[in-house]
């Protein structure tokens, strides 16, 4: 039999590799920490989720603060804390929402880069108002490239969770370390605990009653505490369907909002299955995904607003600048 690979990879930003050296050691860790990059593209058709950062905006900002190549791997920290010990002098940038950074004796806000001397410890501490922090290092982290990406997909056994005692390697920095330190970036994404999430109606939007559609756009939802990288389960007024037949499984993306029988929306996130069989009422726009990703369980009040694809694409362009 002929087992030639039929994979293709056309992702715009190519993956950078090269000589690397030990940079940090994980001294302490709670929550979930993995390497993530801009995702694994070209493998959805084999059932492999795209993965990558939950908050693409914070991920990109962390790398650009350090002039790293756009597809560089960062540490994604979720719902916990990490303490890193520097094994050599380097520069680190931390972005995201719901954290603060302690470096040696200073406290830094997120969205900044700072110099770290060999032997110092950097702690990324949980505060409130978000879920995910992105820790980038000058040059980008080096880790095994699996199917053209450094993103971990733990459920599929692709990559692994970071552990205490682990030594993290980094590639050569883009510039002199001092030039990369003490920079900041003001996020253009309006992170909020009362976000309005913009969506585009999805293929099965007409499976719902006008009442169901109204419920979706006019009521408030909260995030269930059992959320993860795979999906965000929302809680609120149930959405009524008019068509109750079974959907033949079809492809879906990060941001697809499925409505199962109980009427409570589930938003597909970075590690979501590549295909699904629940009807989709709408799809979160790329520009709104970071906002939703950083919503706090039980706290954030989430509302949805319909936009056109033209409006959504214009906004994504603006956020990139």
């Amino acid at each position: 039999m002929d087992n030639k690979p039929l994979t293709t990879d056309k992702h715009p930003s190519s993956i950078v590799s090269g000589p690397s050296s030990p940079a940090l050691e994980i001294a302490d860790l709670s929550g979930i920490a993995t390497f993530q990059d801009s995702g694994r593209h070209g493998y959805n058709k084999f059932g492999v989720p795209t993965s990558g950062a939950m908050d693409w905006y914070a991920y990109q900002a962390a790398n650009s603060l350090l002039n790293n190549p756009p597809n560089s791997a960062v540490i994604e920290l979720g719902l916990g804390e990490i303490t890193l010990r520097a094994l050599r002098n380097t520069v680190i940038a931390v972005t995201g929402a719901g954290y603060e950074v302690e470096n040696y004796i200073w406290i830094f806000p997120l969205w900044t880069s700072f110099y770290v001397r060999a032997g110092w410890t950097v702690r990324v501490k949980k505060t409130s108002g978000g879920n995910w922090a992105y820790i980038a290092i000058a040059g980008g982290f080096d880790s095994p490239i699996i199917m053209n990406s450094r993103s971990a997909y733990l459920r599929g056994g692709v990559g692994s969770a970071l552990k205490v005692g682990g030594v993290l390697h980094s590639l050569a920095p883009a510039a002199d370390l001092l030039k990369l330190a003490a920079r900041d970036h003001t996020p253009l994404i309006p992170y909020s605990q009362t976000p309005t999430i913009e969506v585009i109606p999805a293929p099965q939007a007409d499976w719902f009653t006008p009442e169901g559609i109204r419920t979706f756009y006019e009521s408030e939802y909260t995030l269930s505490p059992s959320f993860d990288r795979m999906g965000y389960r929302l809680q609120g007024s149930p959405i009524e369907k008019v068509i109750t037949k079974e959907l033949i499984s079809e492809g879906m993306t990060m941001g697809s909002i499925q409505i199962p029988a109980d009427g409570q929306p589930i938003v597909m996130m970075a590690d979501a299955p590549t295909a699904g069989g629940y009807p989709k009422i709408a799809n979160v726009t790329r520009a709104s995904l970071p906002l939703l990703a950083q919503c706090e369980a039980g706290v954030s009040k989430i509302r949805f607003r319909e936009v056109t694809v033209e409006e959504a694409q214009r906004k994504t362009m603006d956020d990139r600048r």
Binding site: P5, G47, G157, G251, T274
Partner: protein, 213 residues
Amino acid sequence: MLKMLGDSAILIQLGDAIDPALNARVHALSALLQTSLAIIETVPAYCTVLVHYDPLATTYNQIKNLIEEKISLLDESTHRPSRRLEIPVLYGNASGPDLESVATTLALFPSELIRLHSEREYTVYMMGFTPGFPYLGILNEKLSLPRLSTPRTRVPAGSVAIAGSQTGIYPVDSPGGWHIIGHTPLKLFDPTSETPFLFSPGDTVKFIPDHGQ
């Protein structure tokens, strides 16, 4: 029919059924679209192709026009060269713990069940659920039965299973609600390999009963 799925994907619906001819068109169109640099990836399913594109490089309307052009090139004679794979299977006993009970439910002898399962050529309609899982169809209707009422928490990798009008193989240890009738020693998913997947959507598959037991 083209439907928007957010601002970076378009769902192409070619029909609304689980049908071999329709699915062949799906795979042909998916292969045609994959050659375009404007498209990041395509995901063929039973009767749809999902097209992922980069909204920073291309607009919805540009992708829509491209898709419409490719659909017009897709005539009935378009056939994607399909690979044919033969899969050795050890049926029954510890390899297929549900074989006996399924045979009883369907009022078949286990040997008949094995014959009915292995005599057909199947198509990989789509892949999903877990990395490398092939949805194979269509099963002989004599073998059609609902899923387990309580899914197993762990189905071993390599398990060959049936449910509804479909059969499939579990690529990795995972929970599962299909009836396990056999096992193949072949590895369906190896993330570290240059060729991580045994199957591709659109492949033709034939099960070969292993009588060496």
